[in-house]
Symmetry: C2
Subunit: 523 residues, 2 copies
């Protein structure tokens, strides 16, 4: 059987745009005498659509769009993901389009993702369709991981999916489909979305695996792709491409940043450069994705800024060809402290004044954003966000955070990757000790464990769900472990108000790990 | 059968505190020779616990606590809500405690709430237990709304619930249980939680309805309560108490505010007083709940503030006996504009400068909060939040919003209710035209439709889910309807970063109505 796999970048709610892309692929497939073309889960409308899934008018548009596309489906069958109404509930289906009409729906049973639970209802699960003389098991989304009996009856398993990027997912997904094909003894075709919707990045990486668990065809990661294969043709298997976690993160961020701007009609970005590693990585990626001419940068030194901070920031901006201006915060800080003087009285300098500096910077960046229409990119990393080492409404402000789901050590990895061909980020920024520079000679390590230890504790706590005791048993210092746990648990209120953050890890804070703010339990 | 209903205020994760409350009620019930005592859903741990529900150590503590309580259950049976592990998933159960041990679990099938979907899995649903010679249908949570066949086999229906307050819910819940009892011909006992967990307020209002749909016993709303009834005793039905929406909202806010502070160990609050209605209502409630001596207020006038703003704010603070200080924002604003001058060049005053003023105020309040440990109360209302008429990181900042789920007209209702005995909120604050005062002679009505029209459109759009066409057909101005829809759709990004907001309506923004930020569809 000749099958086409269409791995496309959809936009939520852009029925016309999504429809045109889909029809274009159907036409290409027909020209190649393809019998079945497969699209991703919820291709019609894009995902996650949240409460749009419960608007009748939205669902009607999905249905109308499916019918329009079906009118192109003669001499070809198409499987396209869409939400659908089913007795007052919304389910996720694979629609079979054939003979010019929408022939049937195969529903999804497993609703597991945080983005779907509460918005989509469970349906029947895997069903079989006939394409020519072949029996095809149609499986939507995560049903592929829960319903494994279908293999027996089918000549082919087809999975329409909607599987976002997360650290290591490409490798894991390849392994999963290989095992599935091998265990069931049936070839598997799976088609994923590609592209980003706000904070969710789909990596694509669709493919076809034969019944021996070998790849017969693999579509690109992080790009649209369209490929055709004849399942009966005698063909050599291909090698699974080697994966590099840092390179994948780099591509995921590029797609996330690019699509957030393109799909929302934004053009220009701004951010504050501190001379530190986080803002250096963000501005480098922004300049590459949006063009240096579309990125505006402020350097906002205070009396506590070291000379090298300004120098490093300036060198970076010049390396990138990004427009920068130096705007010291001292005068505003002085005015603010003078005005608040009668309220504060004789109380000593403390976290209030530290936060004031970060908030003045946040305010300046938002003023730039409002004045020039630049989207402000946040620069906090996951290590800081996890332990609450950042000022709410200060360094947490922004329209999008592109590194907020990366631990500090991953930010360093990314910096080295960005510098792979030439020194874009000044080497001094990479090697110097991190500091918030909110008081005299402050270092992050005054308050926090060194980042290699902090990150290791956080990774075990957050990504692996280990308890304090497990981490201590693994050899970490008891006092540090307790301290880190406490910091994470007491800073949940800051994450409640965080800005949209590209999801890059296996456990994104706020999304995959949400705690009640009122809570006496510290695990 | 003698039944006790224990309507208690639990704290999430406070296993010891919750256990002591529960055991105390069991002891009281035993002293009255009660056969069955019923507690609310998830009484053991409090709700919503989100990802704590997926920590094994948390679930183990739930189990341990149930067993400790069970050791008190001789000569009495207890039904207590708890999460429980079931083949690697977490379900919500009613645990039957009898003869000193945990005898069995009855699981919940219907997972519908946004706070549970994704955190709890579906279980079997309604089961029957024997108490003396009576057959009792045990129903957990929302199963009561979906599984209606149990009536036939039972002598009594018992519903452990977890039903938060929302506008009009007390009346609707009474109606629901009356109809249920009447239709099934069985008496119904239902026990709800009371008290708040961050933004969720449980109103209690538990009770027993006889098989004719008459109330035999009703527990208090918004307070803990414990009552005993003999289901066989010949007793006159009691009247359902009259409900007043504004009074209920008032009590819901008081519980929400009080519990947020008490359960988190906070004592003092701060906020900015503008002279407008929103901050006036917030400070009045804060002074009543926390004590005037625990509330600190800043008046932060600018060159655009009218004289009456400061006067009205001052009069209010004095009426309440709340400490206030006047801290003009002019100097900080001047310093900020001077510093940004080289960046802004000759560009005219616009929304950037308007937002700067709101952000300076937000920053000042956060400085106060950091310096003195006061929790900042946000003062935006739902009408503003819905249309994005507020400055992100400016007037949206805070630790808790107590009126953010009330339309402007409901805020006025509340102001009049607060003034029911004497003029606390200056009458001028209630009658003057609302203004953000961020530029010369600005009025909200320059940008927005008058609030009575705006609120009517928003109510139809948000609470009733009506489309533009439906609202226009109902007689609203087409241009205004389109404008309001657009404002709501394009301001979703602000709500993504909103602070915890007491849920008081039937459709709380961000929680019950969540839209993708990347979205081309405007319904």
């Amino acid at each position: 059987m000749k099958i086409a796999l269409a791995q496309l970048n959809y936009t939520i709610g852009d029925f016309e745009g999504n429809r045109e892309k889909i029809i274009d692929c159907i036409d290409r497939a027909k020209a190649q005498r393809v019998q079945l073309i497969v699209f991703a889960e919820q291709a019609i409308c894009g995902a996650p659509a949240y409460d749009l899934l419960n608007k009748v008018s939205f669902l009607n548009l999905c249905e109308d769009t499916l019918e329009e596309i079906a009118s192109h489906c003669f001499d070809i069958a198409a499987l396209i993901g869409s939400p659908a109404q089913s007795s007052n509930k919304t389910i996720s289906v694979a629609a079979l389009l054939e003979d010019g009409r929408v022939k049937r729906y195969v529903g999804k049973k497993t609703i597991r993702s945080r983005d779907e639970a509460g918005y989509l209802s469970s349906s029947k699960g895997c069903e079989y369709i006939k394409i020519g003389d072949k029996k095809v098991a149609v499986v939507v989304g995560e049903d592929i991981r829960t319903e494994q009996e279908y293999g027996e009856y089918a000549d082919l398993i087809v999975n329409l999916s909607n599987s976002p990027y997360s650290r290591g997912v490409v490798e894991r997904r390849y392994d999963f489909y290989r095992q599935l094909a091998f265990m069931t003894g049936k070839p598997v075709v799976y088609v994923n979305q590609v592209g980003a919707q706000t904070d969710v990045v789909y990596d694509g990486s669709s493919g076809m695996i034969n019944s021996r668990g070998e790849a017969m065809m693999l579509l690109k990661s992080f790009e649209e792709d369209f490929q055709v294969i004849d399942t009966e043709a005698d063909q050599e298997p291909i090698a699974f491409p080697e994966q590099n976690k840092t390179r994948n993160v780099y591509h995921a961020i590029k797609v996330g940043l690019s699509d957030y701007f393109t799909k929302n009609g934004f053009k220009t970005a701004c951010l504050g450069l501190s001379g530190g590693i986080d803002s250096a990585v963000v501005v480098s990626l922004a300049a590459e994705v949006l063009g240096a001419e579309n990125v505006r940068v402020l350097l906002m030194p205070s009396q506590f800024s070291s000379d090298h901070s300004v120098e490093d920031a300036r060198a970076l901006a010049e390396n990138l060809g990004v427009e920068y201006q130096i705007v010291p915060i001292n005068e505003t800080f002085a005015a603010l402290t003078t005005t608040l003087g009668p309220v504060f009285g004789e109380l000593p300098f403390n976290v209030a004044e530290e936060n004031m500096q970060a908030r003045i910077r946040g305010m300046m960046m938002m003023a730039i954003s409002n004045k020039f229409g630049n989207i402000l990119l946040a620069t906090s990393n996951k290590s800081e966000i996890a332990v609450g080492y950042g000022t709410l409404y200060g360094d947490t402000v922004g329209g999008l955070s592109i590194i907020g789901d990366l631990y500090k050590s991953e930010v360093y990895d990314l910096a080295r990757y960005i510098n792979r061909d030439r020194e874009i980020i000044p080497i001094n920024t990479i090697i110097k000790a991190p500091s918030a520079e909110l008081r005299l000679e402050q270092k992050d390590s005054d308050t926090l464990p060194p980042y290699d230890i902090l990150d290791a504790i956080l990774y075990r706590m957050i990504e692996e769900g280990q308890s304090r005791e497990e981490i201590i048993t693994a050899g970490f210092d008891e006092e540090q472990v307790y301290k880190v746990y406490n910091l994470v648990l007491t800073s949940e209120f800051k994450r409640y108000q965080s800005c949209p953050t590209l999801r890059l890890s296996t456990c994104t804070l706020r999304i995959n790990r949400r705690l009640p703010l009122t809570n006496k339990y510290g695990y």
